[in-house]
Symmetry: C2
Subunit: 198 residues, 2 copies
DNA sequence: CGGTTCCTTGAGGATGATCAACGAGGGTGG
DNA sequence: CCACCCTCGTTGATCATCCTCAAGGAACCG
């Protein structure tokens, strides 16, 4: 958990429930709130003109998201959508910034959080040079495991769909499917009942 | 300038001169210093197996770089190379973190700096979905202008080579050349004596 | 069961990468 | 001033491969 929930309530945060597929904010919207998830899942993503999507990230219980625009005067760079029924604590921008001034240790916490975010984005943007689908997907899986502090050796069930992999790697579903089949043959991953183990 | 140079010297920073093409650190190295450029230019970049490069960013006078690994315990995610003769202030990690504790306003400064960095990375990683070279390059030029706080309408001389554009967009030089020629015809940019005006 | 979402396969076409060769410009030293 | 070199820019031809479109199958859920 980023900020203690009781503290957030004490400073005036309001809990709000979103249904699956509700939009929390659109790309270009002004940033007025700090968001922290109590339960559920949120996806940040872009759309291009043809409706193709690119996922910036998924956030779940205890995570905050969309903070950078609160610190600089920019609008949101991506859309945010509830992936499941989701309950979120919202604290207004001003109150959030005041809270940070009150507790300097929170600033350090956010320095770490943003640093991690940058580190992960650097790792994932590397894949731009590999047009080769298998490298891209392999790189994506490695980042996924690192971000979730999992051992690279240990096999785990990968919880997202092929379409979502496509939306993270900039590939097409069919390409992802063909690539992971190759990767299964090459023993890079396992597929059991259509489920992916990495 | 991120941190006042006199302050850095007072806290024990050392100025060091690097020649063109000197490596400051490699991907995977432990992060032991805060780096701030006095004069010159530094490039952060990745290499893949075939030697193809991807640029994460260029940094110039007054800029700091490679901070995120100082806040979290990670190694450098990219290589850093001096693009020209460059003079850099180096402050050891511990002294840097102590300096930040001493001056809380610096923490806020870095929160903003990191937020900007994330914002820009989000904007540039969008282009992964556009396999189309012209869209990628257009997106890259727009980001370049925004990051340098330039009006999108105003034409400026773009200071990098076609190879560097390729290394930022994940394309090949020849593809970049053909794309910008098309873009010139489409009046998206001007080319004068081989120089690009955007 | 019926519907929805996700997964899978094949065929064909578009296009960026690759390879090879050359041109243009700028700087350096004789 | 000229010759040389080195980097950068340019062009064409060919190839590999990812995208696209279309169709159908599998799993899951009420």
């Amino acid at each position: 958990m980023v900020i203690d929930e009781d503290t957030l309530y004490a400073w005036g945060a309001i809990a709000k429930k979103y249904q699956k597929n509700d939009i929390l904010f659109y790309e270009g919207d002004a940033a007025n709130y700090y968001y922290q998830i109590i339960s559920g899942e949120v996806r940040m993503y872009h759309c291009n003109e043809d409706g193709k999507e690119f996922n910036q990230g998924f956030f779940t219980d205890g995570c905050s998201f969309g903070e950078p625009p609160l610190f600089i005067d920019e609008n949101y760079p991506s859309n945010a959508m509830a992936q499941t029924e989701t309950i979120i604590l919202k604290l207004s921008k001003n109150k959030f910034l005041n809270l940070l001034e009150e507790y300097p240790s929170l600033k350090t916490k956010f320095l770490k959080l943003l640093s991690n975010r940058i580190f992960n984005k650097a790792a994932s943007s590397k894949q731009i040079i590999n047009q080769n689908p298998e490298s891209r997907i392999k790189n994506y899986f490695e980042n996924y495991k690192r971000q979730h502090q999992l051992d690279q050796k240990e096999k785990i069930l990968f919880p997202y769909t092929r379409q979502q992999i496509a939306d993270f790697t900039g590939l097409r579903v069919e390409t992802v499917i063909r690539a992971i089949k190759k990767m299964e043959k090459a023993k890079i991953l396992d597929i059991l009942h259509h489920k992916i183990y990495i």
